[in-house]
Structures are given as structure tokens and as C-alpha cells.
């Protein structure tokens, strides 16, 4: 396509919207304060709110249901135990995610001590520009039933190597900021950005076979 005379003027940089990890549900500080004061039902409310997300996070890191369940339990127990140390500088959920990530990484390293470490430098030597680019259309996910889509998404992300999978999980699924992700994983911000770019491109490539227009179901 050649440059057209009717090219729209480039938009000014849009204002950055706050990440969900920075948006605190109104009652969260109240629940945390109540839990700190010994109100067990307040802590149970927080557990109920985040249990499935923490389980998914743990499962995506460990790739094992039993380990994920252990990690989830350990994360909530540790959170309760150390609640007094939660200063409220970040969202409670972000703090909880960091605890769960630590537990999950410990589990992963114990189970697979020889596998690539999350903080190891990775030189993939890959060409970043995708070769085959297909149009997906506006809502490719609507072609699949919810359970089918979940299977596709889980299958595709589990194929990613841990350093990419975990960064994508924290940054794009849990919606932590780049800095929060770097801190949680003990990585530099440029390392997070580099892994995230590769993770996003790899996932895009893997999803292509399910979402390209020519694969109409």
C-alpha cells in the first residue's frame, strides 16, 4: 500500500490508563485492615476473591496441578502469616502474586533443578519479524466455545519456555507493571521487556493456526 494523501495525522500519545494491578477495589484496604486486626472472615473474603487467579498463576508456572494446589495453599498461608508486614504500598493482590510467584519458582526449581533459570540470559538468536502473517479478523476468539478457547490458550502458553511464559503471565495476565514484574522475578527492566516481546510474538505465532481467517470453523 502506498502512502495516501488522506493519511490521518498521527494521534498524540494517548494517556496511559492505570493497570488493573494499580486499581484497588474499594473494599480491599478495608478487608486487609480487618484481616490484620484478626478478622478471619475478612481474610477468607480475600482468599475467595483471588483463589482461582492464584491457582491459574501457579499452574502456569509449575505446569502441574498438584504443585499448583500446594503453591496456592502456601501462598495464602504465608500471606496470612506475614499480613502485618504488608505496608499497603502496592495493591494487596500484587503482594499476594509476588508471594505465589516465589513459592511457585521454588517448587519449579526443586522439581526441575537443571532447567533454564528465569534470571538466566537468553540468546534465542531468533528472527523477531514473523514470516507468515495472517489476518484474524476482529473477534477470532468468538469462533470457539469457552471451554475450547480455554484449552487452546492453556495449551499454547504451556508450550512457551518458562522464562517467557512467566514474564507474560505476570505482565499481561496478572497485569503487573514492567517494574513490578522485574522486581518479582529479580530481573532487570530491559530483560523483562525483551522476554515480554518474544513471549508475545511467540504466542501470537502459535495462536495464528487457530485464529487466522482461513481457519473458519
Amino acid at each position: 500500500m502506498s502512502a495516501s494523501k488522506t493519511n490521518p495525522a498521527p494521534n498524540p500519545t494517548p494517556p496511559r490508563t492505570p493497570l488493573p494491578s494499580q486499581v484497588v477495589k474499594e473494599d480491599e484496604p478495608v478487608l486487609v485492615a480487618a484481616a490484620k486486626a484478626g478478622d478471619i472472615s475478612a481474610f477468607e473474603t480475600l482468599v475467595g476473591r483471588y483463589e482461582s487467579k492464584i491457582f491459574r498463576l501457579a499452574q502456569n508456572i509449575t505446569q502441574n496441578k498438584e504443585d499448583a494446589e500446594d503453591v496456592m495453599q502456601e501462598a495464602f498461608l504465608k500471606a496470612y502469616e506475614h499480613l502485618d508486614g504488608f505496608q499497603g504500598n502496592s495493591r494487596f493482590y500484587t503482594w499476594l502474586v509476588r508471594i505465589a510467584v516465589n513459592q511457585a519458582l521454588m517448587k519449579l526449581r526443586k522439581r526441575r533443578p537443571n532447567q533454564v533459570s528465569i534470571d538466566e540470559e537468553i540468546d534465542t538468536g531468533e528472527e523477531l519479524i514473523p514470516r507468515e502473517i495472517e489476518d484474524w479478523g476482529p473477534s477470532p476468539e468468538d469462533r470457539y466455545k469457552q471451554t475450547e478457547l480455554s484449552e487452546i490458550l492453556n495449551g499454547v502458553i504451556s508450550d512457551l519456555e518458562p522464562p517467557f511464559r512467566i514474564v507474560f503471565q505476570l505482565r499481561d495476565i496478572e497485569q503487573l507493571s514492567t517494574e513490578e514484574t522485574a522486581e518479582a522475578l529479580g530481573l532487570s527492566v530491559p530483560a523483562v521487556k525483551s522476554r515480554l516481546l518474544r513471549a508475545r510474538l511467540k504466542l501470537r505465532q502459535k495462536l495464528d493456526r487457530y485464529f487466522k481467517r482461513s481457519e473458519n470453523k
Binding site: S4, P10, P12, T13, M72, Q73, Y80, W136, S150
Partner: protein, 79 residues
Amino acid sequence: MNCKTIVVELENYLDQDLDADLRASIELHLVKCKKCKLIVDTTKKTIEIYCNADPAPLSQDTRNRLHDALVKHLRRARA
């Protein structure tokens, strides 16, 4: 601006972490290059689909085990 720069800056572009000039150059390139536009759109969609996917609810058994572990821990902490 070329296709390689678009991919290198893709992460910053999608996260709105670029200065206005570079962003404007990228957007101008995207109007002209169908391939890059598709890379940007499908990568954006990839993030969106994962971001919007709700986690599966825990099974009742898993939830019960979590609850039991918490109760056990609390009893021990109080003793």
C-alpha cells in the same frame, strides 16, 4: 522507519511507552505497511484474549482443601 524497528519497538508501542515523535512515525508506517499492521493487531489481540480470559473456578474439592489448610493453620497460630 522500517519493519524491523516496528517489531523492536512493538512492546513499547503496545504499552504506550514511547515518545510522541516515535509513536507518530510508527503509526505512519502502520498506515502504509499491511504486514506490520497485522503484526501489531494480532499481537494486541493475543494480549487482549489472554487478559480477558477468566480463570476456571476451583473445583469444590480443591477449595475445601484450601479452606481446611487455612483453618488448620489458624488453629495452630492461636494455640
